[in-house]
Amino acid sequence: MFEFSVLILIPLLSAGVCYYLKNFRLQYSISLFVSAIHLLLSLVIFIGWYKTDLPFFFSTDSLSKLFLLVLSNIYFWVVLVSFSYLKRPVTPNSEEGKKYYFLLLNFYLFANTAAILSNHYGMYWVAAEGTTLSVAPLIYYYRNEEALEAMWKYLFLVSIGIAFAFIGILFLTLSAKGTPLEGQQLFFSEFVKNARTLNPVWLKASFIFIFVGLSTKIGIAPMHSADVDATSNSPSPIAALMSGSLRITALLGVMRIFQIVQPTSTYEFAKTILIIGGLLSLLFAFIFMFKVNNYKRMLAYSSIEHLGIITLGIGIGGLAFVGAMYHIIYNSLNKVVLFFTAGNIHYKYKTREVDGVSSVLNILPWSGWLLLISFLAISAIPPFGIFFSELMIFEGMLFSDKPWILAVTMFLLLFIFINMGKTLFQMLYRKNENENLPVEKERFGIIHFATIVLLILLIAIAVASPNILHENIVNISKDFGIKL
């Protein structure tokens, strides 16, 4: 009960407290405190010093432990920088948005934790709906027309996706007709145990619906458009939160059904669907990287690309699956870094267009260099983690039965790298034509601190490669029936 109250009830409680507290600094301190203990507890649970015993529809396994850690890590850093971010004066309307910022953030933590820890499809679905509802007003933080449009599109598309996922869950109950599971509650663990008895036709339908429905949230092409709009128009901490943790939570739902499908005859079919989804995402990222002229959108497409790689890795299985698990961790860390620095640039230049940004390295030396480094990190340059995880995924592709996927992926990734690099180097190095920018030395702020810590973390995890993490991922692979 202790872990339940810390992980799920306290965020909810603190959301309630934030509603009544008018003092902004107080709200911030409470949220930071909550996120810190949340992070601490999830770390303790992950390492295994504390055995969990969650009530109702909740439980932990290796997969949810990993995802919980990723979530609370991202969340902690986002909350940490939020205060300094919110202090910046932006549009007059966004004062309205600030009032509910921490309330919604806390609610997001509550819903997302519930989604990750749930052992029941109904519970997962409700919690996933909660995350969408809490994130949507945050996207609308700037209170301008673009933000409104982005919020509307995101909310609408994702809610249709959620409805689709619900249909998928209903199909899952249907597939259990005539098996011992009939009329039982939809516990993942029970379904995984009895997966062989499920009706394959309905299981297939269920997989498709859940995958397509949740891919609006994951941002897998061709359902990615609202996700891109939302990520590129929300304030940077929120964009980091979405890229780093919300998409992963949605991916969890797909992985759960994938786990159920795994011992059945539908497995091959599900793998094909995942591979198609992953390749399509890469293709879309590849195409849009050529014409994108908004650097936050570019980062959003980069998210699509990396989620595509992860989906591809899960679909291919074997070593690629392990790589995908690592990639989830590294990608979420890296995306947070990228969005934080992009937020700094946006604040200084007041534009999201690439053309309006120049000579970042001179005007904003800290952010500029950090952006450069994190770009290198996301493009899988060693010693950053993404290099190792992508290597693993590529190796898995090479030794799978479809090695041609590797060639396609490499080709697409190369051009994504070139185009992204071209855009970013333009921003960093081009001579400044904009005379009226106030030239003052950039002060080292908490955002830079967070960015540096995360970058170090990105290298440290990859180089040190803690045994506990490796074991956990091996356990996950075992749960998914992957022989290494």
Binding site: E129, E145, L155, A163, T173, L174, W202, S232
Partner: protein, 210 residues
């Protein structure tokens, strides 16, 4: 009885495909809400229990009274024009609806051979889902999009009663989709997305693109 209600449900979908008035959409939503309530009450007529009546009662209050009222209020407040502004020929739209319905009925009949499902409610629910999506795709007004989402949701309900009747919890959870609807409506009302700025249709939602 379930079949009869499902058929009436399908008829309301046809009406939705023909009509071009915003008000008609609201009354169809109301009608569908009543149908769903009756559908959920019906199994409990013989063995009465208070608990079983909570869900139909909620459904009735939300789907028949509150949401249609709220939509009507928004229509009045924001002075929304009464035409739905389709982006496709109505005739083509109708053909699309008929065709997809045929496909869905035939497909669900084939599927019902492998598992015992109630074909008619199943297929009607699925048709409603399809029609809801068509409404969202082929209509420009945002308030009609919300109506389309509601139709989709009603379809899920009908479909849920056909599929998961032994698992009432899933159907109860489904009511949470109404939360989205309320959020949409609040979004429309609070941001005053009215037709004055020609901003009430998706054609104006075109700023964000590559």
């Amino acid at each position: 009885m379930q079949n009869v209600l499902s058929i009436l449900f399908c008829l309301s979908l046809f009406y939705l495909a023909v009509t071009s008035r915003v008000k008609a959409y609201v009354s169809v939503l109301r009608f569908q809400g009543i149908l769903l309530t009756v559908l959920l009450v019906f199994p409990f007529i013989n063995h009465f229990s208070v608990y079983a009546f909570i869900l139909p009662a909620t459904l009735f209050v939300v789907k028949v009274i509150l949401i249609p009222r709220y939509i009507n209020k928004i229509i009045l407040d924001l002075d929304i024009k009464r035409m739905i502004e389709p982006s496709i020929q109505p005739f083509t739209f109708q053909l699309l609806v008929i065709f997809s319905m045929i496909v869905i009925f035939v497909a669900s009949n084939i599927l019902s051979k492998s598992t015992s499902i109630e074909t008619i409610p199943f297929a009607s629910g699925f048709s409603a889902i399809a029609v809801g999506i068509f409404v969202i795709i082929f209509r420009k007004k945002l308030i009609i999009h919300v109506a389309g989402f509601l139709v989709l949701e009603n379809g899920i309900f009908l479909f849920g009663t056909a599929v998961a009747s032994e698992l009432p919890m899933m159907i109860e959870i489904g009511t949470l989709l109404d939360v989205f609807v309320v959020v949409f409506l609040m979004g429309i009302a609070m941001n005053k997305i009215s037709s004055t700025l020609s901003g009430f249709d998706v054609t104006a939602l075109g700023r964000l693109k590559d």
